[in-house]
């Protein structure tokens, strides 16, 4: 330290700096010499080797696409598979005049201009020497036609590719979903390595929700190619890992029964296996053929589907939001019992209408002359509106929303599919925020009979029904039961079921009333009770689409079809040991009892019949 004391003078400082600079520059020259020697090694000594690698033989890394996993129903019937198909493909680097080639191909094979447009769009994103499909699913005559002309089309060839196929088509369209061409937006966010050799991706349903599982992992082949990009030899290879197969909880027999039972009605049927929470039936109608989307749907077909008044592309099970109508009554009744506002013994006289204290407005019952003297059991069996007007008023909207919330109303069910809607459970709070209005007592009344703001999805309704059947054990519905990887099978883990705290006796009273709906001579769904040796608990519902004005007659014949009410039915069976819960919505079916209940009955009877046989 001491020897530096004197160095406050500039001379020494300059000397230090100069020497440091000289040493540093020498060191830099040494490092640059290192760079130069490496360059000499690469460019002079290794020139021949690298020159060969660069010009005569180029190394190309190609991606090997994995085969997509198969989707099965619970009995192993194939819902989505891969079929070999011939496609016409081009390697742009080997085509000398693209415009001219495409024109000649168009003449030879009659290719629609939209395919050319799609091809040109796809062409922008591909690597050199990649093969890009122009036409998929060539038939035998087209293959033969091209085979003759092949030598006149350098860079164009026929390839065998695997194409996704959905054997049940319309029956599983919304549930299984479909794969489609990867679009530009998706291309930006997808892991490039995995999708390099792929042309499709799961767009909807199971295909989308389980894309990562079904897809598998791409492999690579390192190929030595000539200057034209043709492979000469394979230098190395990492095989692709095929996608996993998925077994769903869906039972295709039941699914078909439900689909057929809906007949000409649009609507939805959901059935849940109450032992597991698995979805047995998930029908949304009108439907469409998902196979159209696999190779890229034509504008015409898409237009037709998109603009159809039946809305076939709309998944009603997950995204259809309907007023629950009277199917909400068992839940309101249970709320009354749980909060101690109602009891099974209390009765009320139903004159066919209800008035709020000091108000003139008449809230009408569906039965013009009224039900007379009714208790809670009667009110559910006969679906008496007046009883529930009175009960809802006694409960108040706060208790109603709190209680219904527990049964999953107004919330997504958490099913393993994407795009689910949450429905709507109104509350004072909700109205203040979304409508900027206070809550009126009259709205409490109509909420109590499932009209007004309340909206449910068919899936929610089925789940709530199952939850009631299982004494408040709340179910999370799911579709994927098992995933079969290459070397192991994995049961899909499902969320732990939660329990709503309810008094056993109360739930039993409501279930009994729901049994009476089907099995009592006065029940609204008594016609479905025939020919079974167990009991079904159910509830009919009619959701208003068209509002009847005060003191106006409701004449069904005069109302146009699309103004007619939706028919609803919820049910579970057997009532004493519930195995299956069903929710049915038939759009514009008018009456739950005549249209929706028989559909649910068919599903239940077939399922429990099967169960007994096994």
């Amino acid at each position: 330290m001491r020897r530096y004391q004197v160095i406050k003078d500039r001379f020494l400082e300059n000397r230090i700096f100069l020497s440091r600079t000289v040493i540093l520059f020498a060191f830099m020259l040494l490092l640059v010499a290192g760079l130069v020697s490496r360059l000499v090694y690469l460019q002079v000594l290794g020139h021949k080797r690298y020159h060969n690698m660069a010009t005569n033989n180029r190394i190309k890394v190609t991606s090997i696409p994995p085969t997509r996993g198969i989707i099965y129903d619970k009995h192993g019937r194939i819902l989505a598979e891969n079929l070999a198909s011939y496609s016409l493909e081009l390697i742009p680097d080997q085509v000398t005049d693209m415009e001219e080639t495409l024109q000649r191909l168009q003449l030879a094979l009659s290719i629609p201009p939209e395919k050319i447009a799609a091809f040109n769009k796809q062409r922008k994103h591909y690597k050199h020497f990649d093969s890009i499909p122009l036409l998929l699913q060539l038939d035998k005559t087209e293959v033969a036609k091209f085979a003759v002309l092949r030598h006149t089309f350098p860079g164009v060839d026929i390839h065998a590719r695997l194409l996704r196929h959905y054997p049940y088509a319309e029956l599983t369209a919304h549930l299984v979903g479909y794969v489609g061409r990867i679009n530009e937006r998706e291309l930006k966010t997808l892991p490039e390595a995995e999708y390099r050799a792929m042309h499709t991706i799961g767009k909807t349903g199971i295909e989308r929700a389980y894309e990562d599982v079904l897809r598998g992992h791409a492999g690579y082949a390192e190929l030595e190619t000539n200057a034209q990009g043709k492979p000469i030899s394979e230098l190395g290879r990492i095989d692709s890992i095929p996608g996993a197969d998925i077994y769903l909880t869906i039972d295709m027999d039941l699914q078909r029964t439900a689909y057929d039972a809906l007949a000409d009605y649009n609507g939805a049927v959901v059935a849940l296996d109450l032992d597991t929470g698995g979805v047995l039936v998930q029908v949304s109608k009108a439907s469409f053929d998902p196979n159209l989307f696999v190779t890229g749907i034509s504008y015409k077909d898409y237009d037709r589907l998109n603009n159809s008044k039946n809305k076939p592309l709309f998944d009603r099970v997950l995204r259809g939001q309907y007023p629950p109508g009277s199917t909400l009554k068992p839940f309101i009744g249970l709320a009354g019992l749980e909060y101690g506002v109602a009891s099974m013994q209390q009765t009320l006289f139903c004159p066919g209408y209800y008035r709020l204290p000091n108000k003139d407005h008449k809230y009408r019952d569906w039965k013009k002359w009224g039900h007379g003297k009714v208790n809670l059991d009667d009110a559910i069996t006969q679906s008496c509106d007046v009883y529930f007007y009175d009960l809802s008023l006694a409960l108040g909207i706060d208790k109603i929303s709190t209680f219904l919330h527990k049964f999953g109303f107004g919330q997504k069910t958490g099913i393993d599919l994407k795009g689910e809607k949450s429905g709507l459970l109104p509350s004072r709070e909700w109205k203040r925020i979304h409508r900027e209005q206070v809550w009126y007592p009259g709205e409490t009344l109509i909420t109590g009979i499932g009209q007004g703001f309340t909206q449910v999805t068919p899936l929610q309704l089925a789940r709530a029904t199952g939850t009631l059947a299982k004494q408040g054990n709340i179910i999370t519905p799911y579709l994927a039961e098992r995933i079969i990887y290459e070397n192991r099978a994995a049961e899909v883990e499902h969320p732990i079921q939660k329990q709503i705290e309810l008094k056993f006796g109360n739930v039993q009273d409501i279930i009994n009333a729901m049994v009476h709906v089907v099995h009592s001579p006065r029940g609204t769904a008594k016609r479905i009770a025939k020919g079974i040796d167990y009991q079904i608990a159910g509830k009919t519902g009619t959701a208003q689409v068209y509002t009847v004005k005060q003191d106006e007659e409701y004449d069904e014949a005069e109302i146009k079809f699309n103004m007619r009410d939706h028919a609803l039915f919820i049910a579970f069976a057997p009532a004493d040991n519930p195995k299956i819960a069903v929710a049915v919505i038939a759009e514009h079916g008018s009456h739950g009892s005549s249209i929706a209940a028989p559909i649910a009955a068919k599903v239940i009877k077939e399922y429990l019949g099967m169960e007994n046989k096994q």
Binding site: M1, I7, L24, V32, L39
Partner: protein, 377 residues
């Protein structure tokens, strides 16, 4: 007094010479930089598929950076010294802001969105860190005492660690070396240097274990053995070597590259542009390019030695040294003797931010050289 002196010079020299003197620019540096930018333009033309939009954007960046350089050349070095602390502090604050609210680009958080444009504070800190260290050391004994070394190290470590967090290994390396070089020029004892280098090497395994991200580890492993995964992570290095090697002694000629044009070489216009250059111009071209770089470095070091006060001298030396680190690390990684870190080839790689900082640095050098208090002779 000053004005008279200038007027005298004006008479003695030619018109242009006088004007340039007036402009406070350094002709030899300017020629070297101009050659590099010209080369950059040619390479971009060759790799960017002759896209005019790309060329215009790059030309605009060069223009802006060039103007900044000239402006800085006119600022008296005393001003740099005076504003060392605020500029450094601003840089550190911005780095913190990036960590908190910055944009994520390519998986790392480096950008600050200022509405009109995006700004990379780690670029600015490459200049302000040596400014700060130079200011601090110039105010104390030369060579520095232990405690001054300690404080200076702290000034270096703060921005370096903040950039490591982003994470951006390449830039943190440049910032650290820019600060460390000031210490070197200030006369840090050789023994201390040796001990530090040995110590850091000993800490390397710890750094590997606790600080490096997976992709950074991958890069190092790939560098050590690129053949292990030739289709995946080693692809870059192998393709780069093929491009350089196939160029041979004389190259394939301008625009004659096949490796990059056929898309075999990724990032050919940014970090790996040297590979394209080597493919097109061969060993001869590479030696020429290295000669230009060395010429600029030599001129820069000459300016540093000629500088009149401690601060200017230390800052100038550090800026030149950082420029060299840029060149060496980039070329080293492209030719496969260093692991791949994100450092561009200075003034040639496509991209704006590094060009602005580099030319700003040269602006400071010119300012140091052209603002002299007394003229000898």
């Amino acid at each position: 007094m000053k004005v008279e002196l200038r007027a005298e010079q004006f008479k003695e020299h030619s018109l242009i010479g006088g004007l340039l003197r007036q402009l406070h620019v350094d002709i030899p540096l300017l020629i070297g930089l101009f050659l590099l930018l010209l080369m950059s333009f040619m390479m971009l033309y060759s790799t960017g598929n002759k896209e005019t939009a790309l060329l215009i954007r790059q030309a605009a960046r060069m223009g802006i950076a060039g103007i900044l350089m000239i402006v800085l050349a006119h600022v008296n070095p005393r001003q740099f010294q005076r504003y060392s602390i605020p500029l450094y502090s601003l840089g550190v604050v911005l780095l913190l802001a990036v960590l908190l609210v910055g944009d994520v680009g390519k998986g790392a958080q480096r950008w600050l969105d200022l509405g009109l444009f995006r700004f990379q504070p780690s670029e600015m800190i490459k200049i302000t860190t040596p400014m700060m260290v130079a200011w601090y050391l110039a105010g104390h004994d030369i060579p520095p005492k232990w405690r001054h070394i300690g404080v200076a190290t702290l000034f270096i470590l703060i921005p370096t660690l903040l950039i490591v967090r982003q994470p951006d290994l390449g830039t943190s390396l440049l910032v650290a070396s820019s600060g460390a070089s000031v210490l070197y020029f200030a006369g840090l004892s050789w023994r201390f240097l040796l001990v530090t280098i040995l110590g850091l090497s000993a800490l390397a395994p710890l750094y590997w274990q606790f600080f490096m991200r997976e992709y950074q580890k991958d890069r190092v492993l790939t560098f050590l053995n690129p053949e292990a995964d030739p289709m995946g992570k080693g692809y870059h290095i192998i393709q780069s070597k093929i491009a350089i090697g196939s160029g041979g002694p004389y190259g394939k000629g301008w625009q004659g590259n096949t490796q990059s044009q056929l898309d075999f070489l990724p990032e050919s216009s940014t970090d790996f542009i040297f590979a394209v250059f080597a493919e097109e111009f061969g060993l001869v071209g590479c030696l020429g390019l290295l000669a230009i770089y060395l010429f600029i470095i030599a001129r820069g070091l000459y300016i540093a030695v000629q500088a009149q006060d401690t601060y200017s001298r230390l800052l100038a030396g550090s800026l030149v040294c950082t420029f060299f680190v840029y060149v060496f690390v980039n070329i080293g990684m492209v030719i496969g003797i260093l692991p791949v870190v994100g450092v561009p080839l200075p003034l040639i790689s496509y991209g704006g931010t590094s060009m602005v900082t580099l030319l700003a640095g040269f602006g400071i050098l010119m300012s140091i050289h052209t603002h002299k208090k007394v003229l000898p002779n």
